[in-house]
């Protein structure tokens, strides 16, 4: 739902999305240690595989974005992981788009990285499981809401005719945010018990 296809957005939105994505990717590249490349790639593949799992919600099912957790576990390298995953998805499976690569990368990765920066330290430092659960839920839910807001913003900035649809888009992200909050909280508390060092970001 977060992959905007080719043929929808206006040129200024596409170009500014591309420029923002390039800045994020450059930041990620500068912070990423060369030795961490295999780890980042394999984690990116795991997040990609995880987002392909269909989670039932009511009569339908949703696919998770996992951007909040990516922000916590990958740090700024989440920009790289999201870009690579979107490129793979566009070129190998034909989903998403080529010209919208930049916009989509920003829409998904930026809220995740911000959540990771804000809530990651709390998740790592706290000794109380309840605080960790709450912080994990916030990271998961807020990242999804941020993505929904950015997708709606990209549509709205492209054409005022898209405004009614953009409003509905935000509403459709609410159930996903709820599910993602619960699941991210569960993943974070699982990792804290099983392998706490997994919660340290690959690239700060």
């Amino acid at each position: 739902m977060a992959h905007i296809p080719d043929g929808l957005l206006s040129a200024p939105v596409l170009v500014s999305g591309g420029v923002l994505a390039a800045a994020g990717v450059a930041l990620g590249l500068r912070r990423l240690d060369d030795r961490m490349i295999p780890r980042t790639a394999i984690l990116a593949a795991a997040f990609f595989a995880g987002s392909l799992v269909a989670v039932p919600v009511g009569p339908s099912s949703v696919h998770l974005l996992l951007a909040g957790l990516m922000g916590v576990m990958l740090g700024t390298a989440a920009f790289l992981a999201v870009l690579v995953a979107l490129l793979l998805q566009a070129l190998l499976f034909g989903f998403g788009g080529l010209t919208t690569l930049g916009v989509n990368t920003v829409n998904i990765a930026l809220p995740g990285v911000l959540c990771g920066l804000l809530l990651g330290p709390l998740i790592r430092a706290t000794a109380r499981p309840s605080v960790r659960l709450a912080a994990g839920a916030l990271a998961g839910g807020l990242a999804v809401l941020g993505t929904g807001g950015l997708v709606a913003l990209s549509l709205w900035l492209s054409s005022s005719d898209y405004t009614p649809a953009a409003r509905v888009v935000i509403a459709t992200y609410l159930p996903l945010a709820l599910v993602e909050a619960f699941i991210t909280a569960a993943i974070v508390s699982f990792l804290a018990r099983v392998q706490p060092e997994a919660l340290r970001p690959v690239a700060p």
């Binding site: 739902m1 905007i4 296809p5 080719d6 043929g7 929808l8 957005l9 206006s10 040129a11 590249l29 990423l32 060369d34 490349i37 295999p38 780890r39 980042t40 790639a41 394999i42 984690l43 990116a44 593949a45 795991a46 990609f48 595989a49 995880g50 392909l52 989670v55 039932p56 009511g58 998770l64 996992l66 992981a81 870009l83 690579v84 995953a85 793979l88 566009a90 070129l91 190998l92 034909g94 788009g97 080529l98 010209t99 549509l155 005719d161 898209y162 009614p164 649809a165 509905v168 888009v169 459709t172 619960f182 699941i183 569960a186 993943i187 508390s189 990792l191 099983v194 392998q195 997994a198």
Partner: protein, 243 residues
Amino acid sequence: MTVAVPQVPVCDLRLRLVAAFIAIACLSQLRTLPVALAALAVAGLVAAWRRPDGRLWRRLLHVEGFLLLLFATLPFTMAGQPLFSLGPLTASVEGVERALLIAAKVSASVLALTALLGAVEPVRLGAALRALHVPEVLVRLFVLTARYLSLIRDEARRLQEAMRMRGFRPGTNRHSWRSYGHLLGMLLVRALERAQRVEEAMRCRGYEGRFPYLAPPSPTARDWAGLCAALAFGLAVTMADRL
């Protein structure tokens, strides 16, 4: 014993990537319906000429959620000449035209992308991206992610099967969500263990931060002709659209 290798003419992926990008960028900015429909027809012909399997046509049927939303809302929310009414809602000619324009542009882009770049192995794509001066680290990430994706997807499938065997029935409740959390957490833990092993194995074999890439052969006349065709197509549709 010799194995017969089919002699497939290998095209130059660098030029093909550039061609696909230009063609799709031009397609995505079209404003008039007749031109968009003509472009869709051309893209459809090119795709059919490359003799695709059924996947391509099925792919066209997949529509993202907000495209459905746009198709549902645009005819009724755009002001203009009334076309038909559905209870209190009136659809306008302009709105229906706009919805058709978007559908034509999105479908043409999908056809162009799949026809030009479908069925390309990620390793070759990585080499092409490297030759187009995409940063080395990004290319390495791309190739490695593509390499491990199918492996980790299989692992996810096995974990899900194991959950079902233990009697897990997914529903809309906290227990199901926690179980999915554990599934994904386990997937990440195993991915990290795999990353540890891969890192050690790579270092044992003398990995020092880069992969060797063969310098790609220079593009043939046929490759240049393909790029020129894509450029001409992009220019033609843009001119027809704006004049």
